[in-house]
């Protein structure tokens, strides 16, 4: 069981140890550094508040991945709702503000010569269904095994395999369409 309330140093060490994992998960899902930082803070606040509920049945990293993914997905959904609402209001009242803030996101850890290609890939990843996006990012960016992804998401290993298969197939289709249009 985790207990940080009586030991602030332990919490500081906990943050230092797990921050890269939490921040990179949020950053890959949200594709926005500011949002990822906010979500990272939220994750550690929840970890502090709910430390007593962690019974050690799963690894701490699995528990943190779950919190980070849930918070990131909630954030994405609320952002989508706001965008939809902004679109509807823009039909009646033109505020002059852009409806979409989607930019050319590239993860800062991507190798320099791959940055342009990675920007295209991130755009395609953003269009994947939620479950496929999570499975793909955990596998490709965090380098987790099927078993680890299965434990985090609560899906079976075989469904993770099929999710990843469909994710790659969808990405191939989207990228092929993009190639035809741009080429």
């Amino acid at each position: 069981m985790l207990n940080f309330r009586d030991n602030e140093q332990a919490f500081r060490d906990f943050i230092t140890q797990h921050q890269p994992r939490v921040y990179n998960t949020a950053l890959n899902l949200l594709q926005n550094a500011e949002d990822a930082e906010e979500i990272t803070q939220d994750v550690f606040i929840e970890a502090w508040n709910k430390a007593h509920t962690f019974k050690g049945e799963a690894q701490v990293s699995t528990w943190l991945y779950r919190i980070a993914i849930n918070k990131s997905i909630d954030h994405l959904r609320s952002k989508k709702r706001k965008k939809r609402f902004a679109f509807l209001t823009s039909l009646f009242h033109d505020s002059g503000e852009p409806i979409s803030d989607a930019g050319d996101f590239v993860h800062p850890g991507v190798v320099t010569e791959n940055r342009e290609k990675a920007a295209i890939l991130y755009k395609a990843i953003d269009k994947l269904p939620e479950t496929q996006k999570i499975a793909f990012l955990l596998s490709e960016t965090a380098g987790l095994s099927y078993a680890e992804i299965s434990e985090i998401t609560g899906s079976s290993v075989s469904s993770i395999e099929s999710m990843l298969f469909r994710a790659r197939k969808n990405l191939r289709g989207m990228l092929a369409d993009f190639y035809k249009k741009e080429g």
Partner: protein, 99 residues
């Protein structure tokens, strides 16, 4: 053409290879602690015995009110009229009549 496309798609899909983890905010711990201090103190759950005690007190008060009210109203229906009271206290009731 098809081969070029396949190659391009493979290159794009492989563009995350060799990717490093991004470094987050070095002051994360301070930020988190500041936000934790802003949190309201945890609300203590109300114990059930206090809920029952308050409900009991309110019931008793309500019953006493009802009893008091019914006593008053029964007295007023069977009570003496104003003339009897005035006669008993030997008071002139001329103020009740118009000049």
């Amino acid at each position: 053409m098809k081969k070029n496309q396949e190659q391009w798609v493979d290159d794009i899909l492989g563009s995350l290879q060799g990717m490093q983890a991004a470094e987050g905010n070095p002051h994360l711990h301070t930020r988190v602690m500041a936000r934790l201090q802003q949190q309201l103190p945890d609300r203590q759950p109300v114990q059930l015995k206090w809920v029952y005690a308050m409900a009991g007190i309110f019931t008793i008060m309500l019953l006493l009110n009802v009893l008091g009210w019914s006593n008053n109203s029964s007295k007023s229906t069977t009570g003496v009229d104003i003339e009897t009271v005035l006669n008993e206290y030997n008071t002139d009731n001329s103020y009740t009549s118009l000049p």
